[in-house]
């Protein structure tokens, strides 16, 4: 049994999780990473994706986050998400709307830089949709 550490998932509206957990999988901007106790201090932005929290008691919870960043120190991990919901509470219509908006953004983009950014965001969202569909 791995050592537990403190994990907090915060969105601007409320504190979603504040618990002792065993490990957390974070969709970092440069790849997924699993955080366990005594992780080296890292600060990373996160892309839209699924955060998997394995609590100290062994149960697993999954949350969908839309962008934000994570602050990891050896003593714990704080995830500041722009918006976050538990996978089971996710409103599929809302996700579809976000994807639709992202698609429009990508189409409306004026220069290449903006477009590639919007397209990247769109592909992240569609990947996310694919990842949680079976759930």
């Amino acid at each position: 049994m791995a050592e537990a550490f403190k994990f907090e998932l915060v969105s601007p509206e409320r504190l979603l999780v504040s618990a002792e957990v065993e490990s957390v999988v974070i969709p970092g901007a440069e790849g997924e990473m699993t955080v366990m106790a005594h992780h080296a201090p890292v600060m990373t932005t996160i892309k839209p994706g699924v955060v998997t929290v394995k609590s100290a008691s062994g149960s697993e919870e999954r949350y969908v986050v839309f962008g934000g960043f994570a602050d990891i120190v050896p003593a714990g991990c704080t995830l500041l998400a722009e918006s976050a919901v538990a996978v089971k509470d996710l409103d599929r219509a809302d996700l579809a709307r976000r994807i639709q908006e992202a698609r429009e953004d990508a189409n409306d983009a004026k220069d290449d830089q903006v477009r590639s950014k919007a397209e990247q965001f769109l592909s992240q969202l569609t990947t996310l949709e694919g990842a949680i569909l079976p759930a």
Partner: protein, 294 residues
């Protein structure tokens, strides 16, 4: 002298008003609790944001690669004021307090020869500022349809501001709102959000302390992602504080109104009773003197 019937009508109407103000007070109290909870729930996020921001600016060291949103344009000519007020009145001096604070600020800026632009959030502030500074109001945000303030509302405002900044429409942005101190005391506050005065983020003594962070991607990149988000958070906080303040002000205003109505009813009842008594006495005298005459 009003007749007995007039007095009766008057008392009935004041009683009806009292019932309304009483109901409004109770609604405000319930909403206040919810608004306070929302403000409290948002606090961890903005606190974390502050400490992370302080951490990372330390890492970047305020060097040349710090984004413009933080360092500003280097000029101080055009000021943008985002004035947040309530959508509804009947809350005492709440809205006019914020508006007055903003107006003082505008006057000072104009005296210094600066250019001023205004974005109004909330109908009441717009109504007040429109009288004097209609030409400076470049935009207004209507939150009347919004039932519960979400981060999206704040994000939309922040995006608007950042968009204007990127277009070079202003140099300094200041946010006006009312800080919720207690139910009876709200303090109108001006907060500069662009360039992000780092004095506004409390010196962070995080548990991370002096830890050497690894950054993914580069600190500069994170920072340019973080600062717009921080602006949205500041706006969100202002809106929440405002919502709580509005309800607090409304509650005490309605409490006052209810009490005044009670006093008025008392006074009117005394007049009414006196007059009734006088009339009875008069009738008695008439009867008695009539009987004596026989």
């Amino acid at each position: 002298m009003p007749s007995l019937k007039d007095l009766r009508n008057r008392i009935a109407s004041v009683k009806a008003t009292q019932k309304i103000t009483k109901a409004m007070q109770m609604v405000a109290a319930a909403k206040l609790r919810r608004a306070q909870e929302a403000a409290e729930a948002a606090r961890p996020y903005s606190e974390r944001m502050g400490s992370v921001l302080a951490n990372i600016t330390q890492a970047v060291g305020g060097g040349g690669d710090a984004p413009a949103l933080m360092t500003g344009t280097g000029k101080d000519d055009v000021h943008l004021l985002v004035v947040c007020t309530a959508e509804r009145g009947l809350c005492g001096g709440f809205n006019s307090q914020i508006a007055r604070h903003a107006r003082d600020h505008i006057r000072r800026l104009l005296a210094d020869g600066k250019q001023v632009k205004i974005i109004c959030v909330g109908k009441k502030g717009f109504d007040i500022l429109r009288r004097d500074y209609a030409s400076m109001i470049i935009d207004r945000v209507d939150l009347r349809e919004v039932k519960t303030l979400g981060f999206v509302n704040a994000d939309a405002i922040a995006r608007k501001v950042i968009h204007l900044f990127n277009e070079g429409a202003f140099d300094v942005c200041t946010l006006f709102y009312s800080q919720f101190k207690s139910v009876i005391s709200q303090i109108p506050t001006a907060q500069q959000i662009i360039p992000a005065g780092l004095a506004s983020t409390p010196a962070a003594a995080t548990d991370g302390g002096n830890a050497v962070y690894e950054y993914e991607p580069e600190p500069g990149e994170i920072l340019s992602d973080l600062i717009p988000r921080n602006i949205a958070v500041q706006v969100f906080r202002a809106l929440l504080e405002n919502a709580a303040g509005e309800m607090g002000a409304k509650m005490s205003a309605m409490d006052n109104a209810t009490r005044n109505a009670g006093e008025m009813i008392n006074k009117l009842s005394i007049t009414y009773n006196r007059q009734r008594q006088a009339q009875i006495t008069k009738e008695l005298i008439e009867i008695i003197s009539g009987a004596e005459a026989l």
